[in-house]
Symmetry: C2
Subunit: 335 residues, 2 copies
């Protein structure tokens, strides 16, 4: 007997063995009303003995509604893994399954979405998608689409995201409270959400009357981007800097420390995302945390409402972030 050789048992096999009809076995397996306790018991026993596993393909094909949510995530972004954890929990609570499709350095978003389309999931949840709004809208024409971590100004697409503008306001406020004025911002370049965080930065600087000190350096999502920005900043270092995300913050921290600046003595740094590594004691990064539980719960809930056909009014749900103060921020150096 070679592995995987034997045919998998079907409802018909169980039915034959238990001496009942296929339909009845189906009823028992679905835990639907219409079978006596005795038969239920017997059928379940037979199913267990034959090691029966329902075939979700056939099940979904027939029943039409698929209780299946497609999720597109980026393998490169640690923060999205945290989101995955939350999404599984939320979907589980709602009785939905998740089917994942990853974006990798050599597998783009279109491919990832295409894979899910063939799986006939009932709705799609996209984590920080980079594709143009027009494509998102086209997709939303075929099935409910919930976008996370990105604003999309289109009436057919649902959005659940963190208030990034507010996030950077929190970061800047914190630094101002500590006495900083020369606060720079390293943005995310062409990354999703970069524009909003940059806007939040400018807004806060203006609110504090610090427009004259505003200074934005082009960054990106990776460590190298942060390191590059650090080298640029070192020519004329500010006393504080807000970063697009934790990863680029880590890159900046390294270059700056090697250059002999004390953290936070000479330079205060605020990250974004509260990635697991930002908690590492020797990074100990002050950062803006996104509320993963709320974000994922609401995203799944929204997808489910759409599937049910509920007429939802507000397309966009925006969750406030919160500041996590750790060791990379401190009082501004006295001049």
């Amino acid at each position: 007997m070679r592995a995987g050789e034997q045919r998998r048992p079907t409802l018909a096999d169980v039915a034959a063995e238990a001496g009942v009809s296929v339909a009845l076995v189906s009823i028992v397996m679905r835990d639907a009303p219409g079978a006596s306790a005795a038969t239920r018991q017997r059928v379940l026993e037979v199913a267990r003995r034959l090691d029966y596993q329902p075939d979700s393909r056939a099940r979904l094909l027939r029943s039409g509604e698929s209780r299946l949510l497609g999720v597109v995530f980026g393998v490169q972004h640690p923060f999205q893994h945290d989101l995955l954890t939350g999404l599984y929990d939320a979907a589980d609570k709602q009785g939905y399954e998740l089917t994942l499709s990853a974006v990798t350095p050599r597998r783009d978003e279109r491919t990832a979405i295409g894979g899910l389309l063939q799986d006939r999931c009932a709705a799609m949840i996209l984590l920080g998608p980079q594709i143009p709004v027009a494509e998102l809208a086209a997709l939303a024409g075929r099935m409910p689409v919930v976008v996370m971590m990105r604003g999309v100004r289109h009436k057919a697409v649902d959005v659940v995201r963190t208030d990034d503008v507010r996030g950077l306001n929190l970061a800047v406020d914190h630094l101002v409270t500590l006495g900083h004025t020369r606060i720079a911002h390293v943005d995310g370049g062409r990354m999703i959400a970069s524009a909003e965080r940059r806007q939040g930065y400018h807004e806060a600087m203006r609110r504090h009357g610090l427009e004259a000190y505003a200074r934005v350096v082009v960054g990106g999502f990776g460590e190298e981007d942060g390191a590059r920005a650090a080298r640029e900043l070192l020519a004329d270092p500010p006393t504080a800097v807000t970063m697009f995300n934790d990863l680029s913050a880590a890159g900046l921290l390294d270059v700056v420390q090697r250059h002999g600046l004390a953290i936070p003595g000479d330079l205060s740094v605020v990250g974004y995302d509260d990635s697991s590594f930002s908690r590492l004691a020797h990074i100990d990064l002050t950062t803006v945390a996104q509320d993963i539980d709320t974000l994922t719960t609401l995203a799944v809930a929204r997808a489910v409402e759409r599937i049910a056909g509920g007429g939802v009014t507000n397309r966009e749900i925006v969750i406030p972030p919160r500041l996590i103060i750790r060791g990379t921020t401190g009082s501004a150096p006295t001049p």
Copy 2:
């Protein structure tokens, strides 16, 4: 028109619109022989216009063979994300799809595997599974199973993994070359592969006649585990330490540095996995790298062979690791 409301077009719709039979459309869509160039053209045109998407559920249900590989990965382990990237590439090359199922802090392996079982994938690839061999064997009785990053002594399960014994031999050799004798090892506790790495450590120490200096501290896979081990080691610090993985190495580095020891002046540290963060300049960890491309290519190839029913002889494929020397290792301090 509400999003996702309209029925998705089927083969029948395309057939009706193009004025041909359903079977013919199927032939065209599959690019199978049996249709004239002219009709082919026309059908494709109609399909494109209707935005037809094949239903993989129905397709797989009917055709039996599923060209679908199930992958179980842990959302907590950054190294497994790197593996995912490679697996997608490899599967793509072989014309297979991947369907992912994640293990999260609140979603265990059994659940993850169960999800894939219902998806009727043709084979399963498990990344560092923790479940007992008996369960793996039972699973392998129903479909081909390829286990990565873990040895499994069972004739029904295929294994593709790194030679962890050799990995730790490389690490210890490197340290011995630098003049170290008091080399400790912080293991992975109950983690998969911990036993092999520990064994490699003991083997190398013995080979160098350093058995008397051998010292193993219980660790784990996370940063806290490394930090805990560090505190234990500081009571009587060695001059070098090999760690179970990069994450625990990062934890150890932090505690040790705060305690005032210089790296690598007072203590040399070797990690394992070459995780992306170990390349971060301010960690700059000497580590043992696993050959991701080879591992993933072979794992997919092996799964495909099994699906085809090929009688493969050697169940276990072991890939040599290589040492990446960075900044956390240096000459032993002169006494």
